[in-house]
C-alpha cells in the first residue's frame, strides 16, 4: 500500500499516515487481515520518527480499524473493514439520490459543507 505525507501540510504527520490507511481500507486495497508495514520500516522510509507512525497506528486501533498484536505488527481489523464498507454503501446511496435529483457532485459537496 502507498503512504504519502507532506511535511509542510498543516495536518499532523501521524494524521496523514492514518488517513492513508483509512483511504486504503475504504477503497478496498487493504482487506481484513492485511498486514501493515512495521512502524520502524515505515518511519525509516518516510524519514519520520517511529513514534509518529506508532501514534497513527494507535489512533487507527482506537477507531477499530487496526489490531496491534505483539510480535505480529499492525493488522487490518475485520470490524474496521465492515464499517468502512457500510460508509461506502451510504455514500453510493447518497450519490445515486443526488443523481436522481439532478445535483452535481460539486453541488452535493457544497451542500454537505454547509451542513457540517
Amino acid at each position: 500500500m502507498l503512504f504519502e505525507i507532506d511535511t509542510l501540510s498543516s495536518a499532523p504527520i501521524y494524521g496523514q499516515i492514518a488517513a492513508c490507511v483509512r483511504r486504503a481500507i475504504a477503497d478496498g486495497s487493504l482487506k481484513a487481515g492485511s498486514k501493515l508495514p512495521p512502524s520502524r520500516d515505515l518511519a525509516r522510509e518516510l524519514d519520520v520518527n517511529m513514534h509518529t507512525v506508532q501514534r497513527a497506528y494507535t489512533q487507527l486501533r482506537e477507531e477499530g480499524l487496526l489490531e496491534l498484536r505483539q510480535g505480529r505488527g499492525a493488522i487490518v481489523a475485520s470490524g474496521g473493514v465492515a464499517s468502512s464498507a457500510r460508509l461506502n454503501s451510504l455514500i453510493r446511496d447518497l450519490l445515486s439520490e443526488a443523481d436522481a435529483r439532478g445535483l452535481t457532485t460539486a453541488e452535493l459537496a457544497r451542500l454537505m459543507e454547509t451542513m457540517r
Binding site: 502507498l2 504519502e4 507532506d6 511535511t7 509542510l8 501540510s9 501493515l36 508495514p37 524519514d47
Partner: protein, 332 residues
C-alpha cells in the same frame, strides 16, 4: 497538500558506516574475549586443548583492518556487493570459533584427560548455537545495511513509501530443493569419507545435521518485503538460512522497471534475483546494465509507483491496479 517535487537521489555509503562499525565492534570484541580467555585459562588446560584453543592473532587483525579500510575508502557505493555476504559468513565463522573455544574450556578446565568439544551433544549443540547466533547477527546487520544504504538525498516536503510482501510457493521449494540438494550431496559424500577427521568421537552424524538443515531451509521457505520510497527500491528477505539478504537500488540508477512473469530456477546464484514463486515479478534494469527482480503479485502497481516517483509526480496507483488485472505484456 503543498507542492514540492520528490527527492529522486539517495545518499549511499555514509549511512552504512554505523552498521559496519557495529560489525567490526562485535567481531573485535569476540576476538579479544577469546584471546583473553585463552591467556587467562590456558595454563589450566591439557596440552591438546591448549593447542586447539590458541591460534595466531595475525589473521584476525588483518580481517579487522580490512573491514575498517572499507569504511575509510572513498567509493560511492562501497560494500554494495559485499556487505550482506561478508557479515553473515564472517560472524557465523567467528561464532563457531567462539563456541568451540567455550566448549573446549568448559570440558577441559582442570581436566587431566582431553575431551573434544565435538564429543558430546552439549558440545555440538553449543557449537551449532554459536554458529547460528553469529549468522543471525550478521544477517541482521546485513539487512540493516540494505535498508540504510540508500536514504533520502535532500530534504523534500513530500514523501512517499509503498510497501508489499511476497512469499515462496511450491515451485520455489522444488528449485531450491534441487539447488541445495546438489550442493549438499558432495559435502555429504566428503563428510562420509572423512568424518573422523571432522568430528572425532561425535555421537551425532554430521550427515544428519546436513540433511536436517537442507530440509529445514526448503520447508521453512523464504519471505520478502519490498519498499519503494522517493529515494530507492529496497527488498529484504526474511529467511534464516539464506545468505541472500536482499537488494536495494536508488531511483536515480533505474533505467527501466517493468512487470514480467518469472519462475524460480534451480542452480541460479544471482543475488539480485529474488524469485520466490511462479507468476508476476517486478524487474528493474539499472543504467549500468544490472538486472534486479522480485516476485510480486502487485508488480504493475510497483512499476507505476516507481515511474511516478522517478518523474517527480505524486504516485497514483489506481490505474495500475486496474491494469494489473490485464495479462502481463512482458514475459521472460
Amino acid at each position: 497538500m503543498s507542492i514540492g517535487r520528490y527527492a529522486r537521489g539517495a545518499r549511499s555509503a555514509p549511512a552504512v558506516n554505523p552498521v559496519l562499525l557495529g560489525f567490526v565492534a562485535t567481531y573485535a570484541s569476540i576476538v579479544v574475549l577469546s584471546f583473553a580467555a585463552v591467556w587467562a585459562l590456558g595454563s589450566r588446560l591439557p596440552v591438546e586443548a591448549r593447542q586447539l584453543a590458541s591460534f595466531p592473532p595475525e589473521g584476525e587483525l588483518i580481517a579487522i583492518v580490512v573491514y575498517l579500510a572499507l569504511i575509510v575508502l572513498p567509493r560511492a557505493n562501497r560494500m554494495r556487493y559485499a556487505l550482506e555476504t561478508i557479515l553473515p559468513i564472517g560472524l557465523s565463522m567467528l561464532g563457531a570459533y567462539a563456541a568451540i573455544l567455550t566448549a573446549t574450556l568448559w570440558f577441559n578446565i582442570d581436566a587431566t584427560v582431553f575431551r573434544m568439544p565435538f564429543g558430546s551433544l552439549p558440545g555440538i549443540g553449543l557449537i551449532l548455537c554459536g554458529t547460528f547466533a553469529g549468522w543471525l547477527v550478521g544477517r541482521y546487520l546485513g539487512g540493516l545495511a540494505i535498508s540504510r544504504r540508500l536514504r533520502r538525498e535532500a530534504a523534500s516536503s513530500r514523501r512517499s513509501a509503498w510497501f508489499a510482501e511476497t512469499s515462496t510457493d511450491g515451485s520455489w521449494r522444488r528449485a531450491s530443493g534441487v539447488t541445495t540438494g546438489l550442493i549438499t550431496l558432495p559435502v555429504l559424500l566428503l563428510t562420509q569419507a572423512t568424518s573422523p577427521a571432522y568430528a572425532p568421537g561425535s555421537p551425532l552424524p554430521l550427515q544428519l545435521l546436513l540433511i536436517g538443515s537442507w530440509a529445514f531451509a526448503v520447508v521453512v521457505g523464504d519471505h520478502a518485503t519490498i519498499s519503494i520510497s522517493d529515494a530507492a527500491v529496497k527488498v529484504r528477505t526474511r529467511s534464516w538460512l539464506s545468505n541472500n539478504a536482499g537488494w536495494s537500488v536508488s531511483l536515480s540508477e533505474i533505467a527501466r522497471a517493468e512487470a514480467v512473469t518469472d519462475r524460480p530456477k534451480p542452480l541460479i546464484f544471482d543475488r539480485n534475483r529474488i524469485v520466490l514463486r511462479t507468476g508476476p515479478a517486478l524487474e528493474i534494469k539499472t543504467l549500468t546494465g544490472s538486472r534486479y527482480s522480485l516476485s510480486l503479485d502487485e508488480a504493475p502497481e510497483a512499476v507505476a509507483v516507481i515511474e511516478a516517483l522517478r518523474s517527480g509526480a505524486p504516485p497514483d496507483v489506481s490505474e495500475a491496479e486496474d491494469s494489473g488485472r490485464e495479462p502481463l505484456s512482458a514475459t521472460r
